[in-house]
Amino acid sequence: MAQTNSVGQGSNGVADESPNMIVYRKMEDVIARMQDEKNGIPIRTVKSFLSKIPSVFSGSDIVQWMIKNLNIEDQVEALHLGTLMAAHGYFFPISDHVLTLKDDGTFYRFQTPYFWPSNCWEPENTDYAVYLCKRTMQNKARLELADYEAESLARLQRAFARKWEFIFMQAEAQAKVDKKRDKIERKILDSQERAFWDVHRPVPGCVNTTEVDIKKSSRMKNPQKTRKSVYGPQNDVRTHSPTHTPAQEAKPATEEQLQDQINYWGGQLDRHRLKMSKVAESLLAYTEQYVEYDPFITPTDPSNPWISDDTAVWELEASKEPGQQRVKRWAFGINEVLKDQVGREQFLKFLESEFSSENLRFWLAVQEVKKRPIREVPTRVQEIWQEFLASGAPSAINVDSKSYDKTTQNVKDPGRYAFEDAQDHIFKLMKSDSYSRFIRSSAYQELLQAKKKKSKNLF
C-alpha cells in the first residue's frame, strides 16, 4: 500500500503551493510502482499488420495490477481510479481521444514525465494552434484531425488571423524536426503529445481535469507554474478571465503579527483541556442516544417520504400531536424542549399550571426581540423591562444583582442584546429548576404514555 508523504515537496525543494499537488504526488507514486521493472505492469511491443506497436500494455493488465498491488477489492473501483488517472493524463489509450480505462485488450501507454500535470502546464491557445496546424502537415491516416479538432482549428485560425504566419512557421519547423526522428520514437512521442492535448483540450463532453476551482485559481502563486510555451519561446497571449488575477506574494510575518501570535497562544496555554477518554465517551454517548432519531441508521416510523413517497412523517411533524418518540427526546436536555415548538408550548402550559411561568416567558420574549427589526427594538425592550424587571413588575423574575445592574444600564440605551446577562442567568435557573420539574411532572409522563394508551385502545 502506498505510504505517501502528505507534505509534498517540489523537486526544487519548495513546498508545494498548488492544492492539487498532494493529489498529483499520490498518483505519481502509484505510477512509479506501475512502471517498476520487477513488480510493475509488463510493457511490451506488439506486432501488428505491417508494423510494430511499441511500448504498450492492455487495460486488463492495469486492472489486474491494481487489484493485486493496491488496496482495491473489485473491478469497479479499479476502473474508477484508473479512469481518473487516465483523465489526468498519466496513461492513455493509444487509439482514442477519450481518456478512460477499459478492462479489456485496449492498448495503453505511459505519459512522459515532461507532460505530467504536476508541472502545472497552462498551455495557451497559440500552442494548441501550432499543434493542430502541425498535424495537418503530417499526411498519415492515423494523424487525421477528429471533427472537434477540425472545428477548433478553424476557430483558432479566425482568432489568430494576424499571427497565423508565425504559427504556421512554428508548425513547419516542428514537423521538420519530427521527420528526422526514429520512426518508433516518433510513434511514441506523437501519442504522448496527443494525450497531453486530450487532457488540456478534452473531447467535448469529457471532464476537463485541468479545470481548477475558481477559489483556488485566483490565489495560485505556484513558483513552479510553467508560464512558458509548451513548444517554443514566449507566446504573448493572456487569457481574459477573472481567474487570472495577479497573485499576492506571501509576506513573512511582521513584528506586530508575531506579537499577536504570542499573545494569542499565551492565552491558549492555560485553557482547561478535557481528557480524551472523557471526550470520546461523551461523543459515543451522544451518537448512541440519538441513533434512533437518525433516519440513515434507524428507519423512520412512519416511513421516509423519499423512499415510500408517503409524506405522513412530515405531516405528523407539523401537527400539534407529538408522538411518543418526539416527547421522549425532550427529556434529553432543555435545548430539545426549547427547540421544538410543541415542546415549548407544553413546557409553558405546565409552568402556567404551577404559576411559575415568568422565567420561560421572559426567556422567550428576549429570544424574540433579538430577531425584531431595529426600529421596533427600543419599544419592545421597554415592554420587557416593565413586565419582568421593573420594580413592581407583574411577572417579576429573580436575577442576581450584578446582572440586574448591568441590565438597568443597557435598558437606558436599548439594543437587541440588552438582556443578554439576565437571560443567561434565567436560562441556568430554568435548566436546574423549572425544566427538571417539567420532566418529572405527571403532565409530561402522561404525554409520554399517551401514544401507548392510544394504540392500546385500538385493540
Partner: protein, 338 residues
C-alpha cells in the same frame, strides 16, 4: 534582526508548550474507546431524485429549515430555489455576476444569499412579489467563499481576504470582523446554539469564534493543505473538517485537539464538502474523484459510497430532519439520496 528572532523563538516556544499540554490529556484514542461499539450498519443509499435545471457547474447548495426547499448556485449565473420533493423549481434568481461560489437560505425561508468573485454578498428576498435584491454587502477585499444566515437580520460571511464577518442586514453594515486566519477563508459553520461559529481556511487551520465579541476562542491545526469544508458535530462539542490533503479530521472543542482522522491510502482526491447525519454517527464527504464517501465517525471506517456524478462533487447537505442527503456537482446535477 535580533528582535524578530526573539519573537519568533517565543512564538514557537509557546506552540510547543501547547502541543505538550494537548498531549498530556491524550490518555487514549477514539479508536480504542469505539472498539466496543457495534459497527455502523453498511449504508447503501440509492439516488431517489435528480434535480435538473442548471446549465453549468454547481458550486453551492443549502437546505431550507422546512426540510423541503433548497437553494442552489451555479456558474450559469442563476440561483434556483427548488421544492426538492416534487422536483419543481419554485424561483429562479438571476445573478449579476456568474462567478458565484456559495449560496445560503435564511431559517425563515424569506431570504437567500449568494456571493463569489465579485467580493460581495447579495441578499435577495424571494417572498416578495418577484424576487428582489434586498442588500449588497460590499466590504470584503476578497472573494466571498461562504455565507450563513443567523436570522433575517444577521448573516455571517467568509472571504478570500482571510477574514469572516457578521453583517447587520437592516443597515447593510459590518457589525463584527473576525481576523486571525493568515490564508483565504474557505468555509464556515454555525454552532447549534448560534453563539459561536467555526471557519476553515487555506492556512490549514480551523478556528472557533465567539459571534458577539469577535474573539478567536480556539485554533485547530493538523491539516497540511487548504480546509475546504467544515461542519459541527450535532452536539456542538466537536467539529469535522475536510481538506485538499485528502483527509477529514474531527476536532473536539473540550479536548482542544484532533480526536479522529478519516483517510484511506487508496483515496487520492481532495475533500470538497462535508455533512453529518442527525446522530453524528455518519459523515458524508464529497471528493474531487466524483464520489461521496460515507464514514463511521467513531470507528473511522468507510461504510459506504455514493457514486453517480460525472464530475466533482462540490457541495453536500443534510436537511435538519435528517431524512436524506443532497449532493451537488460540477456535472450540473443535484442528486438526493437515501
Amino acid at each position: 534582526m535580533g528582535e524578530m528572532d526573539t519573537l519568533k523563538k517565543e512564538a514557537d516556544g509557546l506552540k510547543t508548550q501547547i502541543e505538550a499540554a494537548r498531549k498530556a490529556v491524550n490518555d487514549t484514542t477514539m479508536a480504542a474507546v469505539a472498539s466496543g461499539v457495534a459497527a455502523a450498519p453498511r449504508v447503501q443509499l440509492k439516488n431517489r431524485k435528480t434535480l435538473k435545471g442548471h446549465l453549468a457547474k454547481i458550486y453551492g447548495l443549502h437546505w431550507s429549515a422546512d426540510n423541503r426547499h433548497m437553494v442552489s448556485a451555479s456558474q450559469d449565473g442563476k440561483l434556483l430555489i427548488w421544492d426538492t420533493y416534487t422536483g419543481n423549481k419554485v424561483y429562479a434568481v438571476p445573478l449579476k455576476s456568474s462567478w458565484v461560489m456559495s449560496c445560503s437560505m435564511a431559517p425563515s425561508g424569506n431570504l437567500v444569499a449568494s456571493g463569489g468573485l465579485d467580493n460581495m454578498c447579495t441578499i435577495v428576498n424571494i417572498k416578495a412579489a418577484s424576487p428582489k435584491t434586498l442588500r449588497e454587502l460590499d466590504a470584503h477585499e476578497g472573494y466571498l467563499s461562504h455565507s450563513r444566515f443567523l436570522s433575517d437580520t444577521e448573516i455571517l460571511t467568509a472571504s478570500g481576504d482571510t477574514t469572516c464577518c457578521l453583517w447587520d442586514l437592516e443597515t447593510g453594515k459590518q457589525k463584527v470582523i473576525y481576523k486571525s486566519h493568515v490564508g483565504d477563508c474557505m468555509c464556515l459553520a454555525v454552532s447549534p446554539d448560534q453563539n459561536s461559529f467555526i471557519s476553515g481556511a487555506c492556512d490549514s487551520s480551523a478556528k472557533l469564534w465567539d459571534v458577539r465579541d469577535g474573539g478567536c476562542k480556539q485554533t485547530f491545526i493538523g491539516h497540511t493543505s487548504d480546509i475546504n469544508a467544515i461542519a459541527f458535530f450535532p452536539s456542538g462539542t466537536a467539529v469535522i473538517t475536510g481538506s485538499d490533503d485528502c483527509t477529514l479530521k474531527m476536532y473536539d472543542l473540550r479536548a482542544d485537539q484532533e480526536v479522529n482522522g478519516y483517510q484511506d491510502a487508496a483515496l487520492n482526491a481532495g475533500v470538497t464538502s462535508v455533512s453529518l447525519s442527525s446522530s453524528g454517527r455518519l459523515i458524508f464527504a464529497g471528493y474531487d474523484n466524483f464520489n461521496c464517501n460515507i464514514w463511521d465517525s467513531l470507528k473511522a471506517e468507510k461504510v459506504g459510497v455514493l457514486s453517480g456524478h460525472d464530475n466533482r462533487v462540490s457541495c453536500i447537505g443534510v436537511p435538519d430532519d435528517g431524512l436524506g442527503i443532497c449532493t451537488g456537482s460540477w456535472d450540473s446535477f443535484l442528486k438526493i439520496w437515501n
